[in-house]
Each structure stands twice: as C-alpha cells, then as structure tokens.
C-alpha cells in the first residue's frame, strides 16, 4: 500500500506556521529572562550594569541578532496571518505574501545586523586605536 495520505506534507506555507510557533515560544522564554534582568535596577545600579555588560559581549550580541530576527519574522508573519484571516483575497495571495515578508525580513535584517554588531566587529577584528 502506498504511503499516500498517511503523513501530512504541507507545502512551504506549513513551515511558516512551524516557524511562527517556534519563534513565539522562544521570544516568550526570552521575555521571562529579560524582565528578571531588568528587575535588577531595583537591586542596585552596579547589579544592573553587570548583567547588561553580558549583553554587550560578542556571544550574547550575536544571539541578540538572532532574537531580533525571530521577533521580526514572527511580527511580519503574524501580519500575514491576520491578512489571510480578514482580507477577502488573503488566502489566494498567502504564498505571495510569504515571499514578500521573507524579502522584507532580509531587507530589514541586513542593516539591523550591521548596526547591532558594529561595536562587536570592531572589538574583535578592528585595529587598536
């Protein structure tokens, strides 16, 4: 018997739903951590400055680029989901909208990554002043 029908294989659009789930949960988990680290402003200025210093290290800085990329994808694809739900032609153009948001994501992430990592790149590879 052929395996047709035993396993759902959606097209590319199915992966946008998977990505919406993964990015949503990842961002929520980051938010828990982020409220905790910001809460250190109630402990002491030094405690807060110490934890923020870790955000400025190269490793966390690159992870932060990943977080921004995840939020941006989730936001753009969320808008696409809303368009599919409420715009009469949304379903018909859902795939075009998917490619559009991927293109917009790339267009925003290129300059965002540049500005976010400028300091890190200079610290890692730049000559000493």
């Amino acid at each position: 018997m052929a395996s047709v029908g035993t396993l759902y294989r959606g097209d590319i659009s199915m992966w946008s739903w998977v990505a919406q789930r993964i990015t949503g949960v990842a961002v929520l988990f980051f938010l828990y951590v982020h409220v905790l680290d910001t809460a250190l402003v109630r402990v002491s200025p030094a405690a807060y400055d110490d934890v923020i210093a870790s955000y400025k290290t190269p490793l966390v800085n690159f992870m932060e680029v990943g977080l921004v990329g995840a939020v941006l994808f989730h936001a753009l694809n969320g808008l696409r989901v809303i368009a599919v739900d409420f715009w009469g032609k949304g379903t018909r153009y859902q795939k075009q909208m998917l490619w559009t948001i991927v293109a917009v994501w790339v267009l925003i992430m290129v300059p965002a990554t540049y500005f976010m990592t400028l300091h890190t790149i200079q610290a890692l590879f730049g000559s000493t002043p």
């Binding site: 929520l28 938010l31 905790l36 109630r42």
Partner: protein, 136 residues
C-alpha cells in the same frame, strides 16, 4: 482559513451555537488585536534599544533612569509587558492544548505557565512603578 469546532484539539470548548461569549473566540481575536499593537511597541523597543544611537552598548542604569523619568516610556514599557506576556502566554496555552495528551499533563503544564507568567507580570509592573533613580 476556516477552523470548525470539530478541527480544534482544544477539549471542552463551548459550542458557539450556544450563543453568548466563547473563550476560544475571544482568545483568537485577542491574539490578532494584541499582535497589531505589538508590531509598533515591540519593534519600536528593539529599534531604540538595540539598533539606534549605539544600540545596547550605551545601555546602563543611568540610561534606564533617564528613560523612565518620562511617563511616556513608562507607559510604553508597561503596555509591552502586559500585552506581550498575555499574548505569549495565551499562545503557549494553545500549544500545550495541541500537544499535551493527558488531562493531567495539560493541567500541570498550564499551572507552571500561568504561575511563571503571573509572577513575571507582577514583578515587571512593580519594577516600573517603584523605580528609584537615586538608588545607591
């Protein structure tokens, strides 16, 4: 996309035909309404804190003190806190309903989720309202 009651993995949702309010429908609308507001608030937050004017490198206690001296930014951060936590928590609640097989697993996962989210919202709200720029 039309999802009928039959397609939903959510147990014991009230049938819309009974009329009145339906929690899952309210939740569905909330995800979309809060999402629209979060586009501005969250992307604005990321742009200001991580990209503009030196990004994260310029952030420290003094920066936060300057920012939260303005009621505008206090309200902005308070709104992001509440909307993003409620939106994310409700999203994860739906995911738990999708994957947790037994009622017991579902009960405990939800319990952990709601506890963590409630604690985070309360903590964050207190921090914004009780912030003291002169803390030594």
């Amino acid at each position: 996309m039309t999802v009928t009651q039959h397609d939903l993995a959510v147990p014991n949702t009230r049938s819309p035909s009974r009329g009145g309010r339906n929690f899952e429908k309210t939740s569905w609308i909330f995800m979309r309404a809060s999402g629209l507001v979060l586009v501005l608030l969250v992307l604005g937050h990321l742009l200001i804190m991580n990209v503009l004017d030196g990004g994260v490198q310029r952030i420290n206690f003094a920066f936060v003190a300057g920012r939260w001296s303005s009621p505008f930014w206090q309200l902005w951060d308070l709104t992001v806190l509440w909307l993003a936590m409620l939106h994310g928590t409700n999203g994860l609640r739906v995911i738990i309903n999708d994957y947790a097989r037994s009622g017991k697993t579902r009960f405990w996962l939800r319990g952990v989720l709601y506890t963590a989210s409630a604690a985070t919202i309360i903590l964050g709200t207190l921090v914004i309202f009780t912030f003291d720029p002169n803390l030594a």
